[in-house]
Symmetry: D3
Subunit: 257 residues, 6 copies
């Protein structure tokens, strides 16, 4: 049974909530998938993954029936191609600060004529249940999504040029980095008012350009807020947070007077 | 900084709450340790571990400053010795149904003259901060704890003989298996009244014999109950449960109307 | 989508062909599953597995939609329980030479009242798509199969007692070991006439007792022969053989004059 | 016993057939080596490797007595250096589209004065049986081969400049990507007539420049064709293909009527 | 190039010095092999191995051209068979305290008619360069060695019965455990005079019975002593000791005034 | 108990001796830490690591109470950020040949306003015992050190510009590569007189600019020399050297006449 793609879920559900996984253990990703998230993001940038843990995580998440997204390290566009070959349904690339960055990203994630993604999707075709090379080739550019992260002053300034790059399907706002950038290193505070105002402007401009917009939420309340504001893809918490929150809640009950 | 032993915690705190880890990823065990549990049990019987994941998990839990306990597979007393060599602070051995089982367990977990544990604690001495072989040898039998699991009709009948075996420091009640045994395969229900009555009797008899008693709780409320009843060592939930509980709680908040 | 159980396939198809996997790499098992085998056996006895590679292999095979069987090391009945907990659809236990061996095997693989399998099937319930503990408990004894390997003179002599042990659902003939035993170490030759005659007698007696019978085939021709003789479960070749056969065939074509 | 280098095999045999390995399991690479290939290529670009699986695979292939080649991810020239340090006998770098790309590749794979490969070949010297640092340093540039992949329109146009870059010992044609590029994303078809014509022209020009030429063949028949056309290094199939071909052939025999 | 067997080295060199490896990293075992030891023992009893790290370690040690020996956990005779299948040249089994223990050991390590080792040496045949099943079967009982560890009072008392068990090729003295046993838990001191006297008596009796004798040495001086006393197989130190000794020596030189 | 940072050790001790680890096994790194080094460097450039082995190694080294440093592959500044997120106390980046290289390095290793390091130090905060995001953010730029490797003619020429780049805290001299560069590929000889003279000049200029200077020593005697010359951070030998030196010393003693 092929796993639905992220874009299919976005079309069917309007918006999605994604889990966020830092630990290089497929069972953790699979457990999150079984907990009710629409999809699971495996984070290579700040998470603790190898390429192989990404590959195994994508399989584990597929076994639970949901699509996997991969955030690659800064500038590692070769890994973006590899993650798609491993069956990722979307790529999130951090620190896309210019049209040139966006072009390099699209080149790695889209087949010709849009980009220059190289051919070799053996694993992706297994995960997707694809039946033939040419069919996969014709569908891949539309069926897999490329998110450019907007999280610096330069990126905010270059947003329109970035949105205009063919193959950039979506942006993903990095609210912590954005708050550090806006405060010039003064603080990390995603919910800072200026930060939220800039984010809302990014959301509006990206939607106006016909692109999806993703956002990272540290709490359920933040996620609810973002869904209400119209964000399409909301990542919520992380594996360590789920584990510690669940454990703390059970411990509190056990130790209650 | 050496990690406190389980027995030191029991003496200092009266009772302890242990995490329960099935996934073979040290970061999961370490995260649970950081969530506030007094100690962490790595489960090889129903969990998904290899010997090496146990060894790495013990190190990870030590980095978080708490002792690790290992539950070994049924009858795998060689693994009990190995887990102690890897630095485990206590062993939980399932399905100890007779004095002969208990003697085999003690033989593997205690040095002469009590048992026949074989010498080779290089890693354990690093984890414990031990300074010399003879000092470790002299202290190990008292500093590491051996739990015999009582979870069948035969074990209940043989309890007094099991408690009388030198080197058995504690029992651990397996409430799910006990309920299956008492119902002759009819159901699994740890909170069944007959089951709880038998467990309470085991608790009383073991305490009367001067032994510690452990119990497994599926929820915080069960753990609170067991602590109130006088159980010394209460294991609470499992890694998959923490993860799914934490994730579900955040998802519910995000999706609340 | 839950994976079909081995017994469901046996009922639906009459007989099955199983792959045989020695390498501790889930992708190898999954590739074999995708090649058209009805099911995949992961071999811990002569294969090169750890418990964790078994667990990951079962998941990989499930992703390809077929059930996994695990052959455990000689006498490692604790591992038989663990493999069932990891989601194995059947267990093959080598060197079951007496009713006592068979009873120990059944004790580990069947819940009360048949045996004493211990409760903890968290992963198995995920793989099977089980919805509740009591439902799993009630179904597991019938839904998972226990194969006793018959491969020594003692086992042949004790066959009827072994078949009479409750919880032994099937036998699996080890034709290489049987030929070594029958020749008292003289040769290894599964197709030796005496060996085949003894095997046919075992097949007839086990079928008469209402048990399934498995057999190992080194070649497709042998497998075809066994299917024709009425064996229910035929394991065919191994991962190293598939790899080398496929490679050799392509190399031969490339180097043809 | 030191393993022969790829260049030694090319000199001795005129041309070589290489296996192609995507799975991160050293036993798979070793099995392919034992199947009769002259050498084994470990593919990091579209394969499923980590740096550590490459290192272990090179050792496994050496144990079988043949040299290993590593294809690195797009633009990951640091990994090219690392693979040589791990004992690779040659590097294949994808998407070398310009003289600048080729220079960056040569800088990473050749010691001064040709390039700027950094010193640290501890493992490579073990694999090669090298006896001293200066001897290794003096021989390495000639004894290890650098393949630039030619697989885009830009690369075809820049071929002569690429061939002129010191340190580029060979080209490797990526026939699938070339066919996608030539059809501007229209299809993937390595055997397309235009594609083969362009490839033959590349072969002739590279040979005229005194460089080796590699090619990827999906079938034994394609490999035979390429050897006949004068390609020096022909990669044939992949691990998943060997496995599935071998398994399918045995299954077909077993199920034959 | 097949690796020499341990017995071939014993015949050729009279006695051998073995490395001792606890860490589950093949490169550590291979490094020790390259340091000049005649052979390498991988220790599963007090070491930190999984079955898979044993398998990979045997391959790594073979790449360095020397045979590997495996010490299995207490009573894990199934692992003894598996280690031979993985290519071990000898097995060391701890805590063989009676003829019954020795018989169980021989049953697992010798093919019929001596024992009941099960057939499946695919990997061992690759490591040994074996050419056919029957040839391997006929040679294996003589070409691989089985060491029974003598390290308890019971074992000392039963030595003659143990030596009389067919298939027991050698004994290995565990000097630390023996000293603990002789002192009834009072101390661990391999060089204690009584301990050495008992060991010398074991050596003489085993040699008189035509068996090889192994011994563990903590220092080079101890090893020299044992070689002088006529021990055939002397294990020396361990990986952690080599590492710390080499590091400490370099640090001392660096910090010298 | 938080681990001291490298900069804290430098301040407290004036200079430090670092171990150097190539093997991807945390126990090797931990063993070196326990041998008395002030800190441990994990080498990804010429060593045999994956990102995950770096993450686990940092934890293992922390368990032994000392800080970890990571040398990243050439140009892999994304990995520099990731290593800091994993808890590295300092980064060593090879082949920093220009101010532009140094700026890219600082951008990845320093938060705004110095650089553009991205936010996500969950693991680093655990290792450092950090208590809050803003506190970590404010301290990180000063508490973690960035070493630029100077090891080419271009780097020597550009030293002053490199030292002037904000965020470059230190240089690390690569004496082998420098000797190859100075001899234009003629030899590798760190102790060559010209090489040492250039190194001393680099040391003086970097110290004059208020930067720390690191150096790699192959022997204890070289390390002693460098400490005497005023180098702040001296890396000494490597894991394979410790292992082989310790083993060789014990073997020599054992085989002494
Ligand atoms: Mg960010
Ligand atoms: Mg139980
Ligand atoms: Mg058999
Ligand atoms: Mg290509
Ligand atoms: Mg011993
Ligand atoms: Mg260098």
């Amino acid at each position: 049974m092929p796993v639905p793609s992220l874009i299919a879920l976005l079309r069917a559900r309007g918006s999605v909530l994604s889990s966020w996984i830092a630990m290089p253990e497929p069972l953790v990703a699979e457990s999150a998938a079984r907990a009710g998230f629409d999809c699971v993001t495996l984070d290579m940038q700040h998470g603790l993954h190898d390429p192989v843990s990404i590959m195994r995580g994508i399989g584990a998440v597929a076994l639970a029936g949901v699509p996997a997204i991969v955030r690659v390290p800064v500038g590692d566009f070769a890994m973006a191609s590899r993650a798609l070959d491993m069956g990722a349904s979307a790529i999130i690339a951090p620190m896309i600060n210019s049209a040139a960055d966006a072009e390099a990203l699209a080149r790695a994630t889209k087949y010709p004529p849009i980009g220059e993604r190289s051919w070799g999707p053996v694993r992706a075709m297994q995960i997707a249940g694809a039946t033939g090379g040419n069919a996969y080739l014709q569908g891949a550019n539309a069926e897999t999504l490329t998110f450019a992260m907007i999280e610096t002053r330069a990126a905010v300034a270059a947003l329109d040029e970035i949105l205009a790059v063919p193959g950039i399907d979506a942006i993903f706002i990095g609210p912590s980095d954005l708050s550090i950038a806006l405060s010039r290193g003064g603080h990390v505070d995603p919910m800072d008012a200026e930060n939220q105002a800039v984010a809302s402007d990014l959301l509006a401009r990206a939607h106006a350009a016909g692109k999806y917009v993703g956002m990272f939420a540290l709490t359920g309340a933040q996620a609810k807020l973002y869904l209400g504001l119209g964000y399409d893809f909301v990542a919520l918490g992380s594996d360590d947070m789920y584990l510690q929150a669940g454990a703390a809640s059970m411990l509190a009950e056990a130790r209650a007077k």
